[in-house]
């Protein structure tokens, strides 16, 4: 299954052109203005979407770039969320200090999980990760850990205020806090994926034997990618837990893992910008479906999903890329 991942050809990984820089700057400005135009509730939603975008980028590194399918990334989202929640609630840490720790914990967890997963391919890896996703809520509920995890009741955390002197509401502040992490992690991800390591990841996905013969330590790369992917997802989990002020086993049911994968594919496999499209989809489409039909909201969601795959088999990012390509060639021919 993974061996035949049919990705669009990777575009030349060059530095951004001037136009792209301008585009990015505009986007960033818009992102900074938005919270002052929208109500707190919308800002909160966008914060969640940003957190999802980080998780999706993490999963995309693993699945899109490196060809290892994960149906259980919700587990790392959960670990990140609980790491933050427990540190804040039980150890009294400030919220901002928990993020790197959540990332680190997930990196280790992901790396360790990646080791046995090395032996598994395609569907077999899908099962192993699926199992992880299914088991995680159970483990979180387990009585031996109840002292930290709060068992089935979960952990309630206090929502952080903006630092003194910063005239922002809690939601706005958290939005900027999350945006900061988005920028950091996306820049790092972009750097990572366009250089030596990124090429190695794709090489392993496309032709593992040749990759090995070219001197790539496939085992180390694959498990490290698992770790990095988990790190991203874990940070996303921590950020979203802080925004939601709550972490419980039911927050991380297996459907979260599936949803993240949906986000990856809908956004566009092996695409960095795709993470944002995917995040917007998983954040907002269920609400829209719910607004249209109470009777069977998910039937509608399913229809959206299938329709989208018809229209954009390579995800939104794939379509955007195609349109841009057409546009460029048309302009050049004029």
């Amino acid at each position: 299954m993974a061996a035949v991942l049919d990705q669009p050809a990777s575009k030349p990984r060059q530095a951004l052109g001037r136009k792209q820089w301008i585009g990015l700057a505009v986007l960033l400005v818009v992102a900074c203005v938005l919270p002052f135009v929208l109500g707190n509730y919308r800002v909160f939603q966008l914060t969640l979407a940003l957190a999802y975008a980080i998780a999706i980028l993490g999963l995309n590194m693993l699945t899109g770039y490196n060809g290892q399918i994960s149906l259980g990334h919700g587990a790392f989202f959960a670990i990140g969320a609980y790491a933050a929640a427990i540190l804040m609630d039980k150890a009294g840490w400030p919220y901002w200090a928990t993020i790197p720790v959540a990332g680190l914990v997930c990196f280790v967890a992901g790396f360790l999980f990646g080791l046995p997963a090395l032996r598994l391919e395609g569907l077999y890896l899908a099962l192993a990760t699926f199992a992880l996703g299914v088991a995680m809520p159970q483990i979180l509920k387990y009585k031996a850990f109840e002292h930290w995890t709060g068992g089935a009741m979960g952990v309630v955390i206090v929502k952080p205020d903006a630092p003194e002197g910063v005239p922002l509401s809690q939601d706005q502040w958290l939005y900027f806090f999350t945006l900061f992490w988005v920028v950091v992690l996306f820049v790092a991800g972009w750097n990572l994926l366009r250089g030596r390591v990124g090429r190695a990841l794709v090489a392993i996905r496309d032709q593992p034997t040749a990759a090995k013969a070219m001197g790539i330590n496939t085992a180390l790369y694959k498990s490290t990618t698992f770790g990095v992917s988990a790190l991203y997802t874990g940070i996303a989990g921590a950020l979203s837990a802080i925004a939601v002020q709550f972490a419980s086993p039911d927050s991380f049911a297996i459907f979260l893992s599936i949803t993240l994968l949906v986000g990856v594919v809908v956004g566009g496999l092996a695409s960095i910008s795709g993470a944002f499209y995917g995040a917007l989809f998983i954040q907002f489409i269920p609400n829209i479906a719910d607004q249209i039909s109470k009777a069977a909201p998910w039937a509608l969601y399913g229809v959206f999903l299938i329709g989208l795959m018809y229209l954009m088999p390579t995800g939104v990012a794939g379509l955007v890329r195609l349109l841009r390509h057409r546009w460029d060639t048309r302009r050049r021919s004029h």
Partner: protein, 261 residues
């Protein structure tokens, strides 16, 4: 580390046997390759030539025997260290990274000559930039050598077979090998192109000071370009010598070349 005696063979294959279940693909094969030589490896289909290559790149582990490269047994190194030791290769049936551009494919070849890790890449440290520069210059040069500049940005999956083979070639050279293993580089080339390949081989041998082990069924090429030819049949070595000697060897004629060689 043993001190390298330049008179020692670069590669010394000693009694290598490979079995897959009941099939003996290689059966006690021994031969040596001198530094700087081009050695032809011939034999009927299924004789074990590719299998030997796979042993040299540690994708297969010999059931018996050992392989010394620059005096050191290969089995001490894991597969992904082989390229760094200085053994580069191409694949018989193409093993390119099919979604990547020609350029990126070639760049991956330089993986073993660079060392930056995840963190350094994520932070894009100055060292990483320098390394990337060096790599892309080198790739540019090799693509020029192999006439690949025009397709540099094309995904390799669109390329005709002959061109794809050249990409493999460039990718292998990117690792700055001491020993280059070529598995049927002339497959699918016409007369004229084979001639071009012959010249290219000679050129890189002298310019880049490479040692080449060449598997090929194109007799014209093998006999004209090789300094030494080794012939296998049913996993056993049946002849080893100069091209003329091997070509005239009765076993080689019977098993491999057929009546009108």
């Amino acid at each position: 580390m043993a001190v390298q005696d330049p008179s020692l063979p670069l590669l010394d294959v000693r009694g290598v046997t490979v079995r897959f279940g009941g099939i003996t693909a290689l059966d006690g094969v021994s031969f040596a390759i001198a530094r700087g030589a081009i050695t032809g490896l011939i034999g009927p289909n299924g004789a074990g030539k590719t299998t030997l290559f796979n042993c040299l790149s540690r994708l297969y582990v010999p059931t018996e025997g050992s392989i010394l490269f620059e005096g050191t047994p290969l089995e001490q190194s894991p597969a992904h260290r082989i390229a760094a030791l200085g053994i580069g290769r191409t694949f018989q049936n193409l093993a390119l990274f099919r979604t990547m551009s020609v350029r990126d494919n070639v760049m991956v070849g330089g993986h073993c000559r660079t060392g930056s890790g995840f963190l350094a890449n994520a932070l894009r440290l100055p060292a990483v930039r320098r390394e990337e520069h060096r790599l892309s210059d080198q790739a540019e040069r090799l693509m020029a050598l192999l006439d690949l500049q025009d397709v540099a940005q094309r995904p390799v999956s669109d390329l005709p077979f002959g061109t794809a083979k050249r990409v493999e070639f460039a990718r292998a050279l990117m690792s700055e090998p001491k020993l280059l293993l070529l598995d049927e580089p002339a497959g699918g080339l016409n007369h004229e192109e084979v001639d071009g390949l012959r010249q290219l081989l000679r050129r890189i041998q002298s310019e880049l000071r490479l040692t080449i082990l060449l598997v090929e069924h194109h007799m014209n090429l093998v006999m004209r370009v090789s300094d030494q030819v080794v012939a296998l049949d049913f996993g056993r070595k049946i002849a080893d010598g100069t091209p003329a000697e091997v070509q005239a060897h009765p076993d080689v004629v019977r098993a491999y070349l057929g009546a009108e060689a």
